[in-house]
């Protein structure tokens, strides 16, 4: 259908675009092992000998070990809470009947257009009163509020595709709601659950605004806060900054490459399902 010359034209264009698209990441990874002096003097040369010391120094100075631990904690807690809330919530929404359901669905949906950024000032004030500043569970809670609606909406869509007959049959056999949820609904929706978990994990791991406001103690810094220190405090040591960026870029990239299929499919399905 597509003529051969046209295909070649678009292939060339795509190749050029792909190279351009990967350039920023490749450049960061290469500069991570280039000394600061070389970044200025010879930005196009092969970084040889590699300044591997950059990586260790960046790790130590920004306390990246602590920060990675904190981020991991917040992310795991957020994902667990969001899944627990949204799976049960969506199950409830698919079972409720019309007048009530429409109202509740709208209630759950509303936060999608009220961004947490708009509420950051009252949230800060409230968290301070509750003693949740510098608290990692507090930060997780903030992230839960920001993502639980999205997850619930996606699951409601997934659960609706499960035939009610299957559920009714199980109920007749004496299975309770929790049994149905655990034995039928969750296994059937597993691909969707995995995709939502990955999306929520990425959003939480990458959150900057929330942690910037809610976390002030360096001991409780997330990766993003630790990283943001580089551009403010170590701005003159570029080699070090690139090393910090590289350390931060690699884990999500690897995770993404491994989970690419479920991630992309889940996201594409999520965006289309209305």
């Amino acid at each position: 259908m597509t003529g051969r010359p046209r295909l070649r034209w678009s292939a060339v264009l795509l190749a050029v675009l792909a190279v351009g698209w990967s350039y920023p990441v490749a450049w960061t990874l290469i500069n991570a092992i280039r000394s600061t002096a070389d970044i200025y003097r010879a930005p196009w040369d092969v970084p040889w000998p590699p300044a591997v010391g950059n990586l260790g120094e960046a790790w130590d100075r920004a306390q990246l070990g602590v920060a990675l631990g904190n981020s991991l904690y917040v992310t795991v807690l957020t994902v667990a809470l969001v899944l627990a809330l949204s799976v049960t919530g969506a199950y409830s929404l698919t079972r409720l009947r019309p007048p009530r359901r429409a109202l509740l669905f709208t209630l759950v949906l509303a936060p999608l257009i009220i961004p947490m950024e708009v509420l950051i000032v009252p949230v800060f004030s409230m968290f301070r009163a509750l003693g949740l500043i510098n608290s990692l569970p507090g930060l997780a809670l903030y992230n839960v509020v920001g993502t639980v609606s999205f997850a619930t909406v996606i699951f409601t869509g997934y659960f609706r595709t499960i035939p009610q007959d299957v559920i009714d049959a199980a109920r007749v056999d004496g299975a309770g709601r929790v049994d149905v949820l655990l034995r039928i609904v969750i296994p059937l929706a597993r691909p969707g659950i995995l995709a939502v978990a990955v999306v929520v994990a990425v959003l939480t791991w990458n959150d900057f605004g929330g942690s910037l406001v809610l976390i002030q103690e360096p001991d409780a810094f997330t990766v993003q806060l630790a990283l943001s220190q580089f551009s403010t405090f170590y701005a003159t040591d570029q080699g070090l900054t690139f090393a910090g960026m590289a350390i931060a870029i690699v884990p999500p990239l690897l995770l993404f490459v491994v989970l690419q299929r479920s991630f992309i499919q889940g996201l594409a399905a999520a965006a289309v399902r209305r």
């Binding site: 698209w21 019309p98 009530r100 709601r177």
Partner: protein
């Protein structure tokens, strides 16, 4: 709604008590949203009509903060204008670029997965990392703009796009598009690959060229995706904070100030908390208005397409 009818057929009649138990499963979510979204929303309104003492409401000032923001604050006007401008341009360019990439990648026979990976990968990177990397790409002397430009014989060695009030916002836009166009592409790509081949075969039989095929088949059939993506993109950019904060912190001279960077600086740097929240509430109203208008326009179009 479709949702209602379907369930009405399927679900056997259940008792009131059963329904109440079902509702119980939703209760934790509703409580969390009530406590950490609804309450801050109401408290935010309270803060916005008071002068602040620390982060608590102080003297009641009525709508003074709103009047000050809307009538007399040039920085707020600038930040709102920047936010709207950024949103408008990002919606058009991100949708266009994503669709362009999707159409190109859809025709590729081998290596589609790797291409998808390359274009989508920036989406999973944190805004802090993306912002810092692009700051370097734009840096004078060592950045790609400086070095490539001067290699081509241009006077760009000392040019700093992020430090120039005329170019800073657009420099951030490029980084933003780099990060998010892959997402748009992925959504479109999934939809394009699900389109029935017969439509194209039919179009070809009628003598349609590739451009015609796109205009007559691809574009109208992708309307549901365009609908969702336009809403998602504008909801994402109206609240934009982190990339701007990392790259320019709103500068130079407020050239890249967005409403949220302005709110953040006003509340947490200048401690003018009530005023900051009033500006945030104005943004919320703007977001609601824009979303409703977009929804109306896009939905009308969607109905004419499907009929």
């Amino acid at each position: 709604m479709v949702l209602g009818n379907r369930a009405g057929h399927r679900a056997p009649r259940r008792s009131r008590r059963e329904g109440a138990i079902d509702l119980l499963f939703l209760l934790p979510t509703l409580l969390i949203l009530a406590g950490f979204l609804l309450y801050p929303l109401v408290y935010g309104i309270v803060l916005s009509v008071h002068d602040s003492r620390g982060f608590e409401p102080g003297r009641f000032v009525g709508l003074d903060h709103y009047a000050r923001a809307i009538l007399g604050d040039a920085v707020f006007h600038r930040s709102l204008l920047n936010t709207l401008l950024f949103t408008g341009v990002a919606v058009v360019l991100q949708t266009g670029l994503g669709l362009f990439l999707a159409v190109l990648v859809a025709d590729v026979k081998r290596g589609r997965t790797s291409l998808q990976l390359v274009f989508f990968a920036p989406f999973v990177l944190a805004s802090v990392a993306v912002g810092a990397v692009w700051k370097f790409l734009y840096a004078p002397f060592l950045g790609v703009v400086a070095t490539v430009g001067s290699a081509l014989g241009l006077e760009t060695r000392t040019f700093a796009p992020l430090a120039d009030a005329d170019t800073a916002l657009w420099a951030i836009m490029v980084a933003f598009l780099w990060r998010f166009s892959g997402f748009t592409m992925v959504v479109y790509l999934a939809a394009i690959r699900a389109l029935p081949r017969e439509y194209y075969e039919h179009a070809v039989l009628e003598g349609a060229g590739r451009l015609q095929q796109f205009r007559r088949v691809t574009w109208p059939l992708l309307w549901p995706q365009t609908f969702t993506l336009v809403l998602l993109t504008s909801l994402g950019t109206l609240r934009i904070f982190d990339m701007v904060w990392i790259m320019t912190a709103g500068g130079p001279a407020h050239a890249t100030e967005t409403v949220i960077t302005n709110v953040y600086a006003t509340a947490f740097r200048f401690l003018d908390v009530g005023y900051a929240q009033a500006m945030a509430m104005v943004l919320l109203v703007v977001i609601l208005l824009i979303t409703v208008v977009e929804y109306r326009i896009l939905n009308r179009r969607a109905e004419t397409v499907s009929s």
